[in-house]
Amino acid sequence: MNINVNGKEVILEKEINIKELLILQKVEMPDYVTVQINEELIDQEKFELTTLKDNDAVEFLYFMGGGVYELFK
């Protein structure tokens, strides 16, 4: 199954949900990322319930401040 994450093609071996995709993509701050699938915002509570489908266009949108400091775990 092929999906698109932030403009790049990602091949998935099996069906996974958004939470699993966040781990797979090594997103550092999964609690602070906004997720859109096919131009639709996904509630954070629905990350585990939302399974990705072939050709889904996923956008991870990150918090960005003004410069020299960043969020970290």
Binding site: Q36, L41, G65, G66, G67, Y69, E70
Partner: protein, 274 residues
């Protein structure tokens, strides 16, 4: 208002553009832009708007120029270290273009002063050049509540992002990023560094949005988040939907008052600017 010979020459490259012309240049000279934060993003934005002849530029910042700012905050010079940033910024603008009136606000924005600052000169457009999330949410909410367009900008390391809010025409910052990260949560912030030019690239795009808004030309970044990666030289324009549950700009909005969020515990001043 008619142009002096000096003005005709100074703005000639604008005036010959059919999208601007003498009429557009007059709009710019009558335009009023408020820049919150005179740091990495605000510095280049302020300088390009000044050069373009935006007649009134408001600068908000309570910080003083630090030597470590000079790698990217190009409105300040070595001689300005220790000087309040708004004073240093105003001096640079005054030297660049005598047509520009600079209004300085030597204070941090907060829930009790931001609406007064925006109303002070009834600014046409606001540029968010701050570096912290409490200020970013405050600027968003204040602009939504006072129906003012603004440009959000963010930079870190080799990355940048920007979006434009137009009242009633697309999502606001809070539609996308629901709440600032809580100050007492496990995550906090650390020094990350930023390539000096990032503020120039994103801040200049923010200035471009302000100019287009005042001129009434082109398409703005409302309903889009523009992201830029300097290492791969990729720009991406990500379409953003309106969040119908947004607590500040939707029909279901519950927020009527501004909120002073606590800044996450960083080894930084309470609310410094980019």
């Amino acid at each position: 208002m008619s142009f002096s010979n000096d003005q005709l020459e100074r703005y000639s490259r604008h005036i010959i553009l059919k999208e601007i012309g003498a009429k557009g240049q007059k709009k710019l000279l009558n335009g009023k832009v408020l820049i919150i934060g005179t740091g990495g993003l605000g510095a280049p934005a302020a300088m390009y708007l000044a050069a373009a002849g935006v007649g009134t530029i408001g600068l908000v910042d309570n910080d003083a120029v630090d030597l470590s700012n000079l790698q990217r905050q190009i409105i300040h010079q070595t001689k300005d270290v220790g000087k309040p940033k708004v004073i240093s910024g105003a001096e640079t603008i005054n030297e660049m273009n005598p047509d520009v009136k600079v209004v300085t606000y030597q204070e941090w924005v907060n829930a009790s002063n931001i609406l007064d600052i925006i109303r002070d000169k009834d600014y046409d457009f606001i540029i968010d050049g701050t570096d912290n999330f409490p200020a970013k949410f405050l600027i968003n909410d204040a602009c939504v509540l006072s129906k003012k367009p603004f440009s959000h900008g963010g930079i870190i390391r080799f990355q940048g992002q920007t979006m434009t809010y137009l009242p009633g025409n697309g999502p606001c910052y809070r539609c996308v990023f629901l709440n600032p990260p809580p100050a007492d949560a496990v995550p906090t912030c650390r020094q990350a560094g930023v390539l000096g030019v990032m503020g120039g690239i994103i801040g200049t795009i923010q200035a471009t949005e302000a100019l287009k808004y005042i001129l009434g030309i082109g398409e703005l970044l409302n309903s889009y988040l523009l992201t830029f990666n300097a290492l791969t030289m990729e720009f991406r324009k990500v379409k953003l939907p309106v969040n119908t549950n947004c607590k500040v700009c939707s029909n279901k909005a519950t927020m009527k008052e501004l909120i002073d969020y606590e800044q996450a515990a960083c080894d930084m001043k309470p609310s410094s600017q980019a």
